[in-house]
């Protein structure tokens, strides 16, 4: 199989997955991504705050 075919085959496989997943589950997945991203930001903010705290 040539390189270009491999590239297109992977995209077709992704499309097949996309077509088989209900839209409701995709929405739920997007919400999960947002929640995790917010948690990452919160974690980063806590680390920054801890770094800024004066040492005794």
């Amino acid at each position: 199989m040539d390189i270009e075919n491999k590239e297109l085959k992977e995209i077709r496989q992704l499309k097949a997955i996309y077509d088989s997943v209900p839209q409701q589950e995709i929405l739920e997945g997007e919400q999960a991504i947002v929640i995790h991203a917010e948690r990452n930001v919160e974690r980063q903010n806590n680390i920054t705050r801890d770094d800024d705290a004066p040492t005794l």
Binding site: K6, E10, L14, I17, Y18, Q31
Partner: protein
């Protein structure tokens, strides 16, 4: 919604993306890859043999969901059959649907032929030479 299940899915999706064709991998922004790395369950490191697109039926529900989102965001505008357009065009030409463009070529040739003849006549009139000479 099981958020921990998504953390496992992020680990699996990273394995899949890291083994993708370089051109496909390039379509996924580094920022999103960093997000997956930061959010994944760090103690779970599946192998490429277990997690790949070839046996997509065996992937977890959450992994399939994240892959579907990746397709929607970064791959849905990719032309999956770039050769089909050329093939269709060729079929149109030979089935007569592309007559318009062929007749345009003929019109252009005719126009060039007429202009050349007019120029020849003008030159022969100015220099007094007959067209046959």
């Amino acid at each position: 919604m099981d958020l921990n299940a998504y953390k496992i899915a992020f680990s699996e999706v990273l394995v899949i993306i890291n083994n993708m064709h370089p051109e496909n991998k390039k379509r996924i922004p580094k920022k999103f890859m960093d997000f997956l790395e930061e959010s994944r369950y760090k103690d779970y490191n599946p192998s490429q043999e277990d997690i790949n697109l070839e046996n997509e039926k065996n992937l977890k529900k959450e992994t399939r969901v994240i892959l579907a989102i990746i397709y929607k965001k970064y791959f849905s505008n990719v032309d999956l059959d770039p050769y089909k357009k050329e093939e269709d065009k060729m079929n149109d030409i030979f089935s007569g649907k592309e007559n318009v463009s062929i007749s345009n070529v003929n019109k252009y040739s005719k126009f060039l032929y007429e202009v050349t003849n007019k120029l020849k006549r003008l030159i022969s009139r100015v220099f007094g030479v007959s067209q046959g000479e």
